[in-house]
Symmetry: C2
Subunit: 771 residues, 2 copies
């Protein structure tokens, strides 16, 4: 016993000495200027902590180069996490080994480089075993939407992005990308974990992914990247939230919450999508699930809850490939496993042959025709529950003849299924597992579990319960005493930042004259209301909208604009989201009623015009190239005596871009608008940019289009979703009111056309190939 | 000490008991009929040996299904290895786990299935952890060349083909293939080791690989197949000896000996080609090295010795890719490492941009144009030794601007280099390492070794010496006391079989009349000579040639054939290789002088006609579809008064096939041959079937081609190598003597044309796309 104590005591002494030695060799260096930082980095030894003093660092380009060790990394951290603000033209680059950066807040600026954060400092100098953690990047957008960049780009191997909050990217380019060009970056085992990917607004075209793993050019490379335990909230940039383009990635235990897109195995193979939550609201049909292209993916243990996405966005979308596809197009789906997933109240969750376009063989080259159906694919051991029965849980856009269906159960609430592929009907009960999720976890234990090749590697369910001893179909084996709190944001992102906004009472500023109007508009906070007393407000300079604001009339207010020709009465700046309500807006013929900025639209705008009258302008609305609004609405409003109407047609690069996601015209009167009455353009053949939405409803167009050179009243070429219903077109001197794109979702109904040309449907539209 | 002894003795007892128990539970079952075998298989338990009694088994389809264990496999073996002959329509299929087959000899037959040996018994029932070893497959060809099959096809995982001798495949299809369709066969870690791949004759077109790993359709799959320690001897089937089409394969320590082809990373990525010997003879320019396509391959520690292959067959051929290539065409080369290789007396060993065809943009679709040059590729730490200096060790068919060259040394014996890319000139000494190989191993220790990413994983040299402590460039660190015996065939293949043939004195059979001629021809052994005394031999039935035989005249012998119209005087059967020497061969106008069989040409024939006179036939030579000869030669021979000449143009499938590898016409006189004077056809655009060789030299063509419908005297459309030199063409009523294919190796020189049309060169020939 005595000996034992001596040994123990010696051991403690020895360990303590070790510790002391460690801390002796480390330094904890507070820096507050670029020079001090550079010096500190230059001299950094393993174990050193370089501490950035609290404060704002503007135009600050950090290059952290160092050689830490596994036990003694070199760290660069904020004095107080969240109190070090990186602003202006700033960036962070890291290369070396075992480096850690934490606590920084990137805001009010953008990167002068192609990345905000790059895990390399030059093409050959990359980071390995390095980490960026507990940081925030917010709205750090380039000045123009077309100036693509990547906020975080991984190079090297074994790097980590963890516990960060990243949100608000509006310019082109994925938010986070893993680069695999070069042997220095393959088999990287990077980790993207515990982050909170906050709202990424709709981008209006492609290149708006939240995470992209590689590119088609490196789609043959083993990446082995892990994306786990992240919250994706309103990641609406484009149809792909995560675009996996390399091999052997693992996407596990993430929560996709109200995100308008899907996890897509776009290129590359053998990706595991395991135990994720896809949570919708049962209404929005933009929320998607998992879209499968290529070979060998395993989609297991996922829960789809009230996901209403269809076709490309359906919970499980298995695409058709192009036979012998070019590298950057669509390989055939083969050897894919879709097993042990649970689907609750998600419409037509299994869709096969998605993207088939055999019918478009006339307008597309052979190398674009997706006719190769999935092969050797297993859809097994899944559970579907529909509180409202679904006649078509399985949709075959093309035959699913290469798919094995087995041991799948459905509770369809008695509704007959047209195309069941052996779905076993059961009556199931739901169990509440928290986060508003109720799921079926029992009632199918009599269904024999299908055992495919290597299925023994699926060892656990969605909640981590072992499948080894007692197994059953579906994502969840057992939900007893489970109370998930998936949307508890403290579990994700930086511990010092929350994107929860306190509800705030909107403040109403009443104004009675122009100078008050201008002053209050400047003074108002986002969300406030400017209320105009009855009267005429004559302005000669544009009103600037650079926040969310409502301008409304109290009584009968009229704004008369006498500014220079081709300038707007109301100028929409980045973040400028205007609701105009009950206002008469008048020009002198040569100006614009509303316009975006010609350049530097570094963030989106918004426009909602209600109960108003727009008259005597050159343009009612002029939206310049690179400007984007998620929604533009005119409601109960008249537009009259204008040379041009609503103009959103400058995105002519034919790369799939457009100027607004939704253009809604409801209950409006267009009178004597001479040309470009509605001009809304999207160009480029891109089956996966499925955007652009035009709704024209209950409106009247009279004496419009007289000067329209192309003879079409409503121009919406390339817009994917068009609804023209219940309108009256009278005495418009055009050949066509509209030419609809039949192959897409372009429809009209119940329109009255008097002396106004015709509405025509063209099934297939010849489009420029984007790729 | 006493205790120790007791423990040891107990241990021995225990071990012995274990052994006894094992052998008690095993059975050793001798079977000799199909029924007995099936019974034995049905009842087989782990550890059982099923023994096939010595003898010949005809039309014997073996289906070995069983469940052995790692310690106790189920084996099926020959009573005496090599004394169990599997003949006729026979095959072997295996499924289950831990199965072993050994000692079988497949000969005198072919498989009724698509495989001779398959590691599966049905699409879903595959073998795992199973082995075929110490077996021989010899000439087990299908009856027709176009009846493709695979002699050994791998399915499942962890299977092995070892110590087998496999040779003589003449029909279409790789000799051995690893199949990866389905998750049951990926990450297979199959081993193809210690085999002797004996001669595979030229096939005359594509689909003649010795080993193929997957296919373009599974080129995204991880295969992890090992091909190691094999001898490849005269594997001449086509330009690819090993065609790797999947990922992560390892090709290590093999000997490629006088094999007319290359190791090709045709599809798939990240293949390691490490420590192989490529041994040529300094003359034959068909012996190749390693041809690289795609991403991430490592070509390290290889020795190239007297390899004279050029372009596609050069020691290191780095191809151009097709931008965004279709799945089955050519991906760009990226991230490839060519390091630590040694090249001795191998011409222009490094060739880049191989396969560039930008010049052919007019005749090829854009999706066929190989214009994408290699990227991020490193050619470093290599050593070149040329006993005769080479002005162009580096050939750039297209710019090697994406290649890093570093730390490469050359001893060029004083000859200046035009395009050195930093090659460091040294004077080097050679060391004899056995097998006739002399290599430079020192003289460059002052050259700093280039260290690329992950180069630390190259831990040993070609001979297994560690690179970790003292390293230098080149394949061999140190060759002291090394005496390799790479061509000792006892190290490879089945231990009971050798392909060494004892030299045998050719026996001469002298004959004086027709019946003797017929009798002796039948009686002769392969290699014998039939000598005809002076005189006229009138025959009315075809002489059958089904072995290697020479028919020659002693004095002045004449064979006159009076058989049926359109039958041959001399009929060439499978294996029939005839040398005809000094014979006058006469027909009666309607017959053929020589012809192959119309069907069932299950093996190649050969024809060498010297000092002879062929006259009065319908055809001098008629070769039917699916017949193939490696070489056909006419020398010092006249062909006169024939309706047709030499006819080798039935391979019109345009899949790259043709009827002879070499057609040589030397010092011959063609007189009054009315049409098809020479007809030799190869069709289909296939850049990698670089075959067909026509040599017409020192010959005279007089009054020929009068009835030729296409107006061309020498028809050789699609033949890649054509040499027409020093000939005289007189009074041939044709428009063209020849139309040469300029983009390929078609040349003419020093020909005299009198009243015979012209020779024209067409740079680009429009060909049907094969893929």
């Amino acid at each position: 016993m005595k000996n034992y104590l001596i040994i123990l005591s010696l051991l403690i002494t020895f360990l303590s000495c070790g510790e002391k030695t460690n801390s002796n060799s480390e330094s904890n260096l507070l820096v507050s200027t670029s020079e001090e930082l550079q010096d500190a980095i230059k001299n950094a030894q393993p174990g050193d902590d370089i501490v950035l003093k609290n404060g704002t660092y503007t135009d600050f380009e950090i290059k952290l180069v160092g050689e830490g060790t596994e036990d003694k990394p070199i760290t660069l951290k904020a004095e107080t996490p969240g109190k070090v603000f990186i602003e202006g033209e700033s960036s962070l680059e890291i290369s070396g080994n075992y480096l850690e950066v934490s606590g920084l807040f990137f805001r009010n600026g953008h990167s002068p480089k192609t990345n905000v954060i790059a895990f390399r400092t030059s093409e050959k100098e990359v980071a390995n075993h390095s980490k960026v953690t507990n940081c925030v990047i917010l709205d750090f957008n380039n000045l123009e939407r077309d100036q693509d960049n990547l906020w975080v780009q991984f190079y090297g191997k074994h790097n980590e992005l963890s516990n960060c909050y990243i949100a608000g990217k509006t310019n082109g380019g994925p938010t986070v990308r893993v680069d695999l060009k070069g042997n220095q970056s393959i088999r990287n085992y990077h980790k993207i974990v515990n982050n909170h990917f906050g709202p990424r607004p709709r981008k209006g075209g492609a290149r708006g992914e939240t995470i992209q793993l590689g590119s088609s050019f490196t789609s043959m490379s083993p990446s082995n990247t892990l994306i786990a335990n992240n919250l994706f909230e309103e990641c609406n940039g484009e149809v792909e939230i995560i675009s996996s383009k390399t091999n052997f990635n693992i996407i596990k235990n993430n929560v996709f919450y109200k995100s308008e897109g899907s996890v897509v195995t776009r290129h590359g193979n053998y990706v595991t999508v395991d135990g994720n939550y896809f949570i919708g609201d049962g209404v929005n049909d933009q929320y998607g699930g998992i879209r499968i292209i290529n070979t060998g993916h395993w989609v297991i243990n996922n829960l789809f809850y009230k996901i209403k996405g269809k076709n490309f966005r359906s919970p499980i979308a298995i695409m058709n490939g192009i036979p012998k596809s070019p590298l950057n197009r669509y390989n055939q789906v083969t050897d894919v496993v879709v097993a042990y997933n649970t689907f609750v109240d998600s419409d037509s969750p299994w869709q096969f042959g998605v993207g088939t376009n055999i019918a478009q063989a006339d307008v597309l080259p052979k190398s674009e025709i997706r006719s190769a159906r999935p092969l050797r694919t297993e859809v097994v051991n899944n559970v579907i529950y529909n509180s409202k029965g679904d006649a078509n849980p399985i949709v075959e856009h093309d035959k699913a003849d290469g798919v094995t269906f087995a041991s799948n159960v459905i509770d369809n609430n008695g509704v007959e299924i047209k195309n069941s592929h052996g779905l076993i009907a059961k009556e199931l009960a739901l169990t509440d597992i928290g986060t508003g999720l109720s799921v079926p976890t029992s009632g199918f234990d009599d269904v024999e579990v299908y055992k495919g090749y290597d299925f023994e590697t699926i060892t656990a369910d969605l909640l981590g319960n072992s499948r080894e001893k007692s197994n059953q179909i579906g994502a969840i084996l057992n939900a007893e005493n489970i109370n998930l709190n998936l949307l508890d944001k403290s579990k994700y992102g930086a511990d010092w930042y929350s994107n929860d906004v306190e509800a705030k009472e909107a403040k109403t500023h009443t104004v009675a004259n122009v100078s008050e109007l201008i002053a209050k508009l400047k003074e108002a906070e986002s969300g406030d209301i400017i209320e105009l007393n009855e009267g005429v407000y004559e302005i000669s300079n544009s009103l600037i909208i650079n926040k969310s604001v409502t301008i409304q009339s109290k009584g009968n207010a009229e704004i008369v604009y006498s500014g220079a020709a081709n300038t707007p009465a109301i100028e929409l700046h980045p973040y400028g989201k205007l609701t105009l309500k009950g206002i008469k807006l008048k020009g002198a013929g040569s100006q614009y009623a509303f316009a975006s900025l010609k350049e530097n639209m570094s963030n989106h705008f918004g426009l909602d015009v209600i109960d108003s009258e727009i008259s005597n302008f050159n343009y009612a609305l002029k939206v310049y190239k690179q400007s984007f609004s998620e929604e533009i609405t005119f409601k109960n409003t008249s537009i009259s005596n204008c040379e041009n109407g609503i103009e959103l047609s400058e995105e002519t690069n034919d790369r799939g871009d457009y100027n607004t996601e939704y253009l809604t015209i409801e209950n409006c009167q267009f009178t004597n608008v001479k040309q470009n009455v509605i001009d809304y353009y999207r160009g480029g053949y891109d089956e996966s940019t499925i955007g652009g939405n035009l709704l024209v409803n209950n409106s009247t167009f009279t004496n419009c289009g007289a000067k329209e050179k192309n003879g079409i009243l409503l121009n919406h070429r390339g817009i994917v979703n068009v609804n023209i219903n219940n309108n009256t077109f009278k005495n418009n001197k055009v050949q066509f009111v509209s030419i609809l794109w039949g192959a897409k979702n372009n429809v009209e109904s119940n329109n009255t056309l008097v002396n106004s040309g015709k509405i025509k449907t063209e099934e297939n539209l010849k489009q420029k190939l984007m790729y």
